[in-house]
Amino acid sequence: MDKKLGLYICSGCSISDSVDVDKLAIMAQAEYKPAVCQTHTFLCGDEGVAIIRRDVEREKVDAVVIAACSPRAKAESFSFDPLMVLERVNLREQVAWCHEAKHEDTQALAEDYIRMGLVKAGKMEPLEALPEDTISRTVLVVGGGIAGVSAALDSAAAGYDVVLVEKQPQLGGFMKGLKKAFPTRAPYTEASSDGLTSKLQAVVSNPRVKVFCSTRIVKTEGQPGMFDVTMEGASGTSVHRVGSIVMATGWQPYDAAKLGALGYGLPNVITNVELEQMAARGQITRPSDGKQAKRVLFLQCAGSREQDHLAYCSSVCCMTTLKQTEYIREQDSQAEVYVIYRDIVTPGPYEKYYRKVQDHPLNFFMKGKVTQVAAAADGRVQVSLDSELLGAPMQVTVDLVVLATGMVPNSADGPAIRALRDANAKLARNESETQCKDAEAIIAQMKPHEGTEILNLTYRQGPDLPVLQGGFPDSKFVCFPYESMRTGIYAAGAVRAPMDAALTEEDAGGAVMKAIQCIELASRGQAVHPRTGDLSYPSFNLQRCTQCKRCTEECPFGSLDEDEKGTPKFNPYRCRRCGICMGACPERIVSFKNYSVDMIASMVKAIEVPDEFEEKPRVLVLACENDAYPALDMAGQARQQYDASVRIIPLRCLGSMNIVWIADALSRGIDGVLLLGCRFGDDYECHYMRGSELANRRLENVKETLQRLQLESERIHLTQLGMDDYGRLPDIINEFAARIREIGPNPYKGF
């Protein structure tokens, strides 16, 4: 550790009103003997920054510790060589602004933070950039419908070559089969007859775009910047090197065979898709006898927003029905059209279309629930419904019923297919009877996924993207739309979420921007979101690896493949730098140059723990940098005050938490450990998708250990929160601190 540490303490922003900055400097000088220890009243100003820069240039200092505002503030001021060791200590938002000024506990807190910062900086190494690699600047677009075609055109326009692959013989996807599309121009009262022709011509004639129809992907190997994609099709087999992938495989209609309760199966009950096809071919007639339908009833939300069918709204079925009422009226101006709905979804300018269709006296709209669809005489259909608006049951007999069914994404469930393959492999290996029985059960359950592969990734974690309930690619879509759980692969259009053509075109553009960003960041050796631009990356001391496969399994992004023995193989361009692998590894072989198990453990050990007679407990707070740390900063900005017994250490993700830190904390006499992280579960908000969930699971094991050591398990607690919960933070922290005081001091103090 012969680093030349430079400690720079800022006394501005009321830090000096809260703590004695000079005393801090004296303490630091005495305990750690940094090469430089300086205070300044306005460190982020030109003069302050110049001092640091000068010290670095003159090589007086090669590791900088800035004790001032939060690391989330003034990054552009404190910007030096990105490879240099730089540690920020938060004396403002998490000391001066949220604790009692000039109180001894506040001073003690500031002292501990400076100790922790110096210790960490002492252990950090300058970053090394990833070795230079040739990064492909080609984007693979999977799917040639409106999403894929728009993505291809956008990518080409931005200067990135495209490989566009489509399994059908022609481009155009679903839009090709429509008679008309939703209104595209003000005043949004006319369905559009524009069609896709000009777009398709543009994509086919674009010199940057190579189109492969009647072609499927058989293998995708590699990582962002260097995916090797093998395709097979009408024009033979080919391998393409691409930098990132846009998944634009679109949708298919919900299977109406499951809607027998709504009358599907009766000859004159059809779906909206079937009606559209009929209309595109020519006349709309009753399927039973080819006669005109004088009365048509549209049944909205058919198989949608239901527990037993699709749980969600597909957002396009209402507009589709409105459009189709006009087809019917074109044919017969006196036709009676009934629309039975739960809600009418016509967002934005589409509202004008709704108003127009509503205005016709023979279009009848009713909010209600259809209770029965039965055959009536002469091929007619009798529909019974409970009208919510009239508070009474109604019955109407019509010639044709149209079920407005929803959209199902064309996706493959990666983990499911993997489970199926693993189970088959197990059976083939003929292991124990119970193992075989389990395998057979899995095979039976996952059978429907057989043969559904789209991307065919050679990743250990599975051949396709993990999907959410409903089949949409899993993502933390609130923060990172388009992303998937595989770095460099972005979803666009109806496979990402049900949407109409207009939104799909925008979506394609968004996904292409992410795809391009991924390529550019890879070319600089930098990470993508959430740690965009991060130059650090984990290294694996494989000598001590025991092939337990925890890192391989727990990495949310499948960055780690395995060899036959199970030794992890790291793919740096897939990595998001979260450190979940670091938290998972029981042997602690994973580390970053600026983030390691030892660094955090040392920070924990640097905390001064008063003995039990002083009655000043110490609570370690491990806060994830995505929601929890900002929330703490925001609480400080709002000048919310909370218990000064806390010592906060930011983590990249709660999932990077290694259990040894808790053990170290408790053995040092720290009375409690509070983990603050993003929410997990069905509506998760964890920015690395599985991190806080993993931390929670690992805690279960810790609780057992605690009980064995006769320590109360309540000393460890995980609280899920969002950034917007900063108002609750003082209560969360104070309540935990109060609980710890109740439980009493850690008996291991002073050991």
Binding site: E336, Y338, I344, Y354, R355, Q358, D359, H360, P361, L362, F364, F365, M366, K367, S384, D386, S387, L389, L390, G391, A392, P393, M394, Q395, V396
Partner: protein, 395 residues
């Protein structure tokens, strides 16, 4: 919930209502802002949201069962608050016009509401008949009220020109006839409203008081939400008092009220009150309508103009008869008398059973039935609660 509503949209109803003022009713998307705004709509059966939907769907039976259009006094707050400008206030007015045409068994009401030609035509026809009555010579057999003998031109001798016994008889017959027609229509209205429910007769009798009070005072109006409610109610009440006074004078007390020469009689003072009130209120109403001063006045059907204008002209000609008589100007008196009759009679014949005036019975009747239905619901739920308690305590 009962038997399902069998949907067979009555396209004639939809067209009638849309042409009678409900032209924007298809814009309604059932947000219920109108019903929330309305201070008159009762909690258990708010309006006008549902009526907008019934009209959109042409559900005639449901509309005939619903007294709601008559509970509305057209303050127009609903129209002002409607986010789609679907004009629920005017639609309720259109429904009242439509229902008026449906209660009438003769079909004349519908004819006149849908056609200005027929409305004006029939008024003109009746006016011509009245003029003929007074002017054709006796030999034609029409001369019931024509002069028996030479027209007295030296002094006003009204009784020679229009014998008060004859006029009185005519007035009484007309009043009876028109009342019968109106009552018949009201009976149809009542049957339509009460067909479904099994409401015990005693409830009707219990609420008779409210029927009379509402009919006479139109008190409900002042509960309207808008700032003009009290003013409109009081103005209308004066109008009613003026009309009621002159009606009584002409139908019951004509032998005293119609003075045959130029002498003065105290009943004229009551007549002056009526005249003043009628002139002021009707002119005010017409001016409001011209100026589109409030929501209620933004749209005017022909029937909305004819009614106050005819009433105004009746009052004008009536006071002129009085003035000419007092000034002892025979010919002007006689001529004005005929003109007065030729305006008043057609007005009454067309308006009372077939036109806008019918609301004098339809509205209180609607309020009455709505009140009875509410009481029936209340006592039904009370009974249910009592039964429930009894069962619970027994069980």
């Amino acid at each position: 919930m009962g038997n399902p509503i069998l949907v067979e949209p009555d396209t004639e109803l939809i067209r009638d209502v849309m042409e009678a003022g409900g032209g924007d009713l298809k814009k309604c998307f059932q947000c219920a802002t109108c019903a929330s705004t309305c201070s008159l709509s009762p909690e258990e059966s708010t309006f006008p949201r549902k009526q907008m939907l019934l009209a959109q769907w042409g559900l005639k039976n449901e509309l005939l069962k619903d007294p709601a259009p008559w509970l509305c006094f057209y303050c127009g707050e609903c129209s002002k608050s409607c986010p789609r400008q679907a004009n629920p206030g005017e639609t309720m007015m259109a429904l009242r016009r439509y229902l008026t045409t449906q209660y009438d068994w003769t079909g004349l009401s519908r004819l006149m509401y849908r056609s200005a030609f027929w409305e004006i035509g029939i008024l003109a026809l009746v006016a011509a008949f009245v003029v003929a009555l007074f002017t054709l010579p006796q030999s034609f057999g029409f001369g019931l009220l024509s002069r028996s003998g030479p027209l007295p031109l030296s002094n006003v001798m009204l009784d020679k020109f229009a014998p008060k016994e004859m006029v009185h008889l005519g007035d009484t017959i007309m009043a009876a006839l028109l009342s019968l027609l109106l009552l018949a229509n009201a009976a149809r209205m009542f049957l339509g409203l009460t067909r479904d429910g099994n409401i015990p007769a005693r409830l009707y009798f219990a609420q008779i008081g409210s029927l009379i009070v509402q009919g006479v005072t139109q008190m409900q109006w002042k509960n309207c939400n808008d700032s003009d409610a009290s003013r409109n109610w009081i103005r209308h009440l004066f109008l009613v008092s003026g009309y009621a006074t002159i009606f009584t004078l002409v139908v019951v007390f004509l032998p005293w009220f119609q003075i045959q020469d130029s002498s003065f009689h105290w009943t004229s003072i009551l007549g002056y009150y009526s005249t003043a009130v009628l002139l002021v209120t009707t002119a005010w109403m017409v001016l409001d309508r011209i100026g589109k001063r409030t929501e209620m006045h933004r749209f005017s059907h022909l029937s909305d103009w004819l009614f106050p204008i005819l009433l105004f002209l009746t009052a004008v000609t009536g006071i002129l008869v009085n003035i000419f008589r007092l000034l002892n100007l025979p010919m002007p008196t006689y001529v004005t008398y005929v003109v007065h009759m030729a305006i008043a009679v057609p007005m009454l014949v067309v308006e009372v059973p077939f036109g806008k005036w019918s609301h004098l019975l339809y509205r209180p009747l609607g309020i009455f039935v709505a009140t009875v239905k509410r009481k029936a619901l209340e006592s039904a739920s009370e009974e249910a609660a009592v039964t429930g308690q009894a069962l619970a305590s027994n069980g």
